[in-house]
């Protein structure tokens, strides 16, 4: 039976415009990253250092969170703890209601996407406007982000032009991106002034100084955290770092991996509300520490490294599956490889079993990850769990795998059979029907790789060690 996920994949694959948009965008982002990382050895050292910093954070997570809380409070930031999305939403609503908030502007935040804050506030009669250009476009189209860094990546400029004509009555040249951005700018600048509350995410929070760090290019993050009288920052509890000086490693890893930039336009470090005598900035700053399944991941030794993620999006940019089906097909807040790992853990493996199957285990995501999360291993571990608890594959598939397993632990027979198969140009079983339906069976080589390697080795030996 086809799952919802299968249906969405089929739809995405049939949408030529969507595929073109993603293909172009992913090529662009991969090239930019490659140019930005420079010397591969230095980059590798930075990744190692970044991985170590994040691993240490996870090893000291409760202490760091307590330290962050204490120092934020010392700085005048009010700290709230939320076990799940519902609790976080209610905390934010109660702050809003206390100040009679009607209008909220929001900087880009995946944590608030995860808890579906916009819809929750809308039900309470509070309008929550996205201020990141991509998020604004997505909200205007009544859609969800299809990428964690570039939310409107599934749309091209013509589609955005049409959206602006329909929703904002903004006519003009559809190819003029500056004009389109100008439309968003003028609308949103009014909203920043009018908003009663600003909501933002957090990229890093330094425990030893109680500082919230936001990374951005547009300035909407600065606007949302400076103009309105109240600022509420929502952060997944794994985003804590021991101190700001770890940023000298983590920031370049994040910005190079995400958008191929050595640094973004703005790095915004907030250590408290407006002090007496200061002329601007919010008079209240709140920090909501969101668990929502993270502490359970933390307890799961095999999967804990999921929480090392710094949300750069490089794994999806390098994923051949994501590049072809796009972000919406996954049907989850976080798409791509990291989404395939996070979603089943946050929302239940059984309900999201199909997600972990959308992977060819090619390993590109793991190689691209700036903090060396072994995403392919994590996906494989989840697959194992699915197979153990809820085997969905057909009888013939299971039967085939058991033969495959038997052959692989009997190498002589295995090699003899591959030899026969290449002589005969034929393999007795080509897999269950579902495997063959949309794939061509690969041609067997006349000589098995193992045989060719042996010949090559002999030739190298003859040629001498210096060759």
């Amino acid at each position: 039976m086809k799952s919802e996920f299968d249906r969405r994949i089929a739809l995405a694959l049939a949408d030529q415009e969507l595929r073109k948009n993603f293909k172009g965008a992913m090529h662009f982002l991969r090239d930019k990253r490659l140019q930005a990382i420079g010397d591969p050895q230095i980059w590798e050292n930075m990744r190692t250092e970044g991985a170590r910093i994040r691993e240490n954070v996870l090893n000291h997570l409760p202490e760091l969170l307590e330290q962050l809380e204490a120092n934020c409070q010392k700085n005048g930031i009010q700290v709230h703890w939320a076990r799940d999305g519902d609790e976080a939403n209610h905390i934010i609503l109660s702050i809003a209601q206390k100040h009679q908030v009607r209008q909220v502007v929001k900087g880009k935040s995946m944590a608030t996407e995860e808890i579906e804050l916009n819809a929750f506030l809308a039900e309470a009669g509070i309008e929550c406007l996205e201020s990141d250009m991509g998020e604004y476009i997505v909200q205007l189209a009544d859609e969800k982000p299809s990428h964690i860094i570039m939310p409107a990546i599934h749309k091209n400029k013509q589609q955005i032009h049409e959206l602006f004509v329909n929703k904002l009555n903004a006519q003009g040249d559809p190819n003029d991106v500056d004009r389109l951005i100008g439309v968003g700018r003028s609308i949103l600048r009014d909203k920043f002034r009018q908003a009663d509350m600003g909501i933002s995410g957090v990229n890093f929070a330094a425990a030893d100084s109680g500082t919230l760090c936001l990374v951005e290019n547009e300035g909407n993050g600065r606007m949302s955290t400076t103009a309105p009288p109240i600022h509420v920052a929502v952060m997944g509890l794994e985003k804590v770092i021991p101190s700001l000086n770890t940023l000298s490693t983590l920031l370049p890893l994040l910005t190079r991996s995400a958008t191929g930039q050595a640094i973004t336009t703005y790095i915004n470090m907030i250590s408290g509300p407006r002090k007496p005598g200061e002329r601007d900035g919010p008079t209240e700053v709140h920090l909501v520490l969101l668990d929502n399944g993270r502490s359970a991941i933390h307890q799961d030794n095999d999967m804990q490294s999921t929480l090392a993620c710094i949300r750069c999006g490089a794994c999806m940019n390098h994923c051949p599956v994501y590049t072809r089906i796009g972000g919406h097909a996954y049907g989850s807040t976080y798409p791509g490889p990291i989404g395939q790992v996070i979603t089943p853990q946050l929302k239940g493996l059984e309900q999201n079993a199909a997600l972990v199957s959308a992977c060819s285990l090619n390993g590109a995501c793991g190689e691209a990850c700036p903090v060396k999360i072994e995403l392919p291993s994590l996906i494989r571990r989840l697959r194992e769990r699915v197979a153990k608890t809820n085997p969905q594959n057909s009888l013939s598939e299971r039967w085939l795998w058991s033969i495959w397993r038997w052959l692989n632990i009997h190498p002589r027979i295995y090699h003899w059979l591959t030899r026969c198969a290449s002589w005969l140009h034929w393999i007795p079983v080509a897999g269950p029907k579902s495997w063959r339906k949309e794939r061509d069976f690969p041609q067997l080589a006349a000589n098995p790789l193992r045989h060719r390697m042996r010949i090559r080795k002999q030739q190298t030996k003859k040629a001498g060690p210096d060759d």
Binding site: R52, R189, G219, P242, N268, I270, R279, N301
Partner: protein, 223 residues
């Protein structure tokens, strides 16, 4: 509710104790890549990187600052220039703006009292710079009572004046090795600025002036 949530979450996190790692690595701070570069080289690199990031870099001196500002005011049609309350740059700004029939305004009221003006009337905001990073072309700006946060954000043009004694670091590692970053008491807000406000959210096409300044002008003072 929040208190029990706090206890619950922390208890759950404490239950998972995988492999206690070396505590000395806790800060993640390794030896900084101490690159000893001549100061002049750092200034050249800073200027180059800023220009690459679409900042307009102008060299000047204390003496010529007012004429530099007047030229910039003419080039960008700046009529209202907003400055902080610190008197350092007041004389050259006054001089420059009077030569183009413009005015200098002081950010001496609370944001709420002048918000419309800030967003709609002011052509440019001028700030000082507390430090710079050459490798990435980054200016470190620490807003204060004298130079509030909106000064470098709301007006469509941001002019940043880098004095000759402003410390320029080779890279982020060296900057963050400095005492400020080891302190536990931080200013309300610190900003790193490396270009005009920009976005590539529409079909990866870079557009400047997303929400903040469209133009980022950096004046490097040479004395």
């Amino acid at each position: 509710m929040t208190n029990t949530a706090r206890t619950d979450i922390l208890n759950r996190l404490r239950k998972s104790r995988p492999t206690p790692k070396d505590a000395s690595a806790e800060t993640g701070a390794t030896e900084p890549r101490l690159v000893h570069q001549a100061e002049s080289d750092l200034h050249i690199e800073l200027s180059k990187q800023l220009s690459l990031n679409r900042a307009q870099v102008v060299e000047s001196t204390q003496l010529t600052l007012s004429s530099t500002l007047a030229e910039l005011a003419r080039e960008h049609a700046i009529r209202q220039l907003l400055v902080g309350t610190h008197p350092d740059f007041h004389p050259p700004c006054e001089h420059a703006m009077s030569s183009v029939d413009g005015t200098v305004l002081l950010y001496n009221k609370d944001y709420e009292a002048q918000c419309d003006n800030l967003f709609n009337e002011i052509d440019a905001g001028l700030t000082s710079v507390q430090a710079a990073v050459a490798e990435t072309g980054t200016l470190v700006i620490i807003p204060s009572r004298d130079e509030p946060r909106m000064l470098s954000l709301a007006p469509p043009i941001h002019i940043a004046v880098v004095k000759s004694d402003c410390p320029v670091y080779a890279n982020l590692k060296q900057l963050m090795h400095e005492p400020l970053w080891q302190k536990t008491e931080m200013p309300t807000n610190i900003i790193f600025v490396s270009s005009p406000s920009k976005t590539a959210d529409i079909q990866q096409t870079l557009a400047y002036g997303a929400h903040g300044p469209r133009h980022f002008i950096v004046i490097l003072l040479k004395d």
